[in-house]
């Protein structure tokens, strides 16, 4: 017996199903029932029932790709903030091999890197690595933070959502599993992408999102085009505004 529908919003303690089903993430069993332990959306797959939280923190997992910023340099490693309760570290040996070099010349505090989680041990020390395609330091662009559970939604089925944003705004977009998104392109387009990504985060639990995102993108891009056409005939206005600022 099941008491909820797929994609229904539940709160902790809500009874989801009875023993016919299996417990998944965000659920627990009490007596003969399966209950939710989170606020989120129900996801039913075959006989497995789980709850996807509306908001979450990133818990590092081996093999994930994440975006982190360097917070500290130590003798033989960099410390990184990976938007998680646990901080990560990148050993110098992973970057230099056996060579000995000044760490701060390669990456300095405040640099933003795209990394892979190499290992997470029992006490949640997160070892990061830079070996892999596309991993390394970011130059330019902006960072956007979203809730990590919404990352799959932002990427879409086989990357449909993220590719649409890339195509429409002509921006490079990199999504870390930890909910940090890096966007680089024309500054104006970066902001458009930011707006769209924030909108996806807000409405990720609703259906028909891809179409709405497409409409929104086209609408904003249309407006920008009109504006740039208008600008050609309004140089006078531009001058006035400058005077005002002075």
């Amino acid at each position: 017996m099941i008491f909820v529908k797929d994609k229904e919003i539940v709160v902790p303690g809500d009874v989801l199903a009875d023993e016919e089903y299996h417990t998944g993430r965000g659920t627990f069993r009490e007596k003969n029932n399966i209950l939710s332990s989170l606020v989120g959306l129900v996801a039913i797959r075959d006989k497995k029932i789980s709850v996807i939280p509306l908001q979450s923190k990133y818990i590092p997992k081996r093999g994930d790709v994440v975006i982190g910023k360097i917070t500290d340099i130590r003798f033989s490693m960099w410390n990184l903030d990976i938007n998680s309760p646990y901080s990560g570290f990148l050993p110098a040996s992973d970057v230099f091999g056996k060579e000995k070099r000044e760490l701060s010349r390669t990456f300095d505090v405040g640099d933003v890197l795209f990394l892979r989680v190499v290992d997470v041990d029992e006490v949640k020390k997160v070892k990061l690595g830079l070996k892999g395609r596309g991993l390394g330091k970011f130059r330019g662009g902006i960072l956007i933070n979203i809730t990590p559970t919404k990352v799959p939604r932002l990427i879409g089925k086989k990357g449909s959502m993220i590719n649409m944003i890339k195509d429409e705004t002509h921006c490079d977009v990199v999504v870390g599993q930890n909910g940090v998104v890096w966007v680089k392109g024309e500054p104006e387009m970066e902001r458009v992408a930011e707006k769209v990504i924030k909108m996806i985060e807000e409405q990720s639990h609703t259906s028909g999102l891809t179409d709405r995102v497409r409409n929104m993108l086209l609408e904003i891009l249309g407006e920008i085009q009109e504006e740039s056409e208008d600008l050609e005939g309004s140089e006078e206005e531009e001058e006035n505004r400058e005077e005002f600022i002075q």
């Binding site: 300095d108 405040g110 330019g140 662009g141």
Partner: protein, 263 residues
């Protein structure tokens, strides 16, 4: 804990400002959405909740009868305190107030005191013995830049909202009439405008991102007639005379705008 700002975020914000734009699309002299609610705490004599974009704080005013300070026997006492709650931002820690918290409360206090928001002399009940004491507590719930303007707006709103029982003196005893509650002797709405200097530009109401990368900051407290009642400069770099004058001019219009929320 010091929060570290990614270098690329700094670059993009500085670049945008140079181009005359801001990350959230505001004009340089534009506030985020302001919302103000008063009387949010039943247990306090006066209270207010302010939202400035995503920055959120509550201010509570408590009153009490106590002995005045010996150097000002005829004046009521105003005390301002602020609390940066750890839930407001990842880099706010529990424990004794740090310098940011002290600065917030002291600058707010200065703006209210020097702006003569409340007539402290009318708060005297028996000279040298009994006066009203007002405690203003600022609790920051969510930090997204520019706590200062929000704190002053909230503090003034809370003071306007405060009601005290009428106090009469009989045989050197103070008798409170809780049936007849009266507002505080309120006479001025002094408010504050904060600017962040980024590159060569001054931007009003800095967001968290802007506040983290700013070179300097200046807060200007202003009364309704345009006189300056408080000023505070922060940040590492200097601010020129012209920039201060420009900031004062903008503050004149913008405090007027904020004042509308108090009606």
């Amino acid at each position: 804990m010091v929060s570290i700002i990614p270098e690329i975020t700094r670059e993009s914000v500085v670049y945008l400002i140079k181009e005359g734009k801001r990350a959230d699309g505001r004009a340089f002299d534009e506030y985020r959405e302001v919302s103000l609610e008063t009387g949010v705490i039943n247990k306090a004599e006066g209270s207010a909740k302010v939202k400035l974009g995503n920055t959120q704080l509550v201010v509570g005013a408590k009153t009490q009868i106590a002995e005045p300070f010996s150097d000002t026997p005829k004046m009521g006492v105003l005390m301002t305190n602020s609390e940066l709650l750890p839930m407001a931002a990842p880099n706010f820690e529990p424990g004794p107030p740090d310098e940011n918290s002290v600065e917030l409360s002291r600058v707010t206090d200065r703006c209210i005191r020097e702006g003569k928001v409340v007539d402290l002399e009318k708060l005297c009940i028996i000279e040298g013995k009994k006066v009203w004491m007002i405690f203003l507590d600022i609790h920051v719930l969510d930090y997204d830049g520019n706590l200062q303007d929000a704190a002053v707006l909230g503090a003034v709103a809370a003071l306007m909202n405060t009601k005290v029982p009428t106090a009469t003196v009989e045989n050197d005893e103070v008798i409170l009439d809780h049936e007849k509650m009266i507002p505080l002797p309120f006479n001025e709405k002094a408010l504050m405008c904060t600017f962040a200097k980024i590159g060569d530009e001054l931007v009003l109401d800095p967001s968290l991102e802007e506040e983290e990368i700013m070179d300097a900051r200046i807060s200007i407290g202003m009364r309704a007639d345009g006189s300056i009642c408080a000023m505070q400069k922060g940040g590492k770099k200097p601010i020129t005379r012209d920039e201060i004058l420009k900031a004062v001019n903008i503050a004149k219009n913008k405090t007027e705008e904020l004042r509308k929320y108090l009606e």
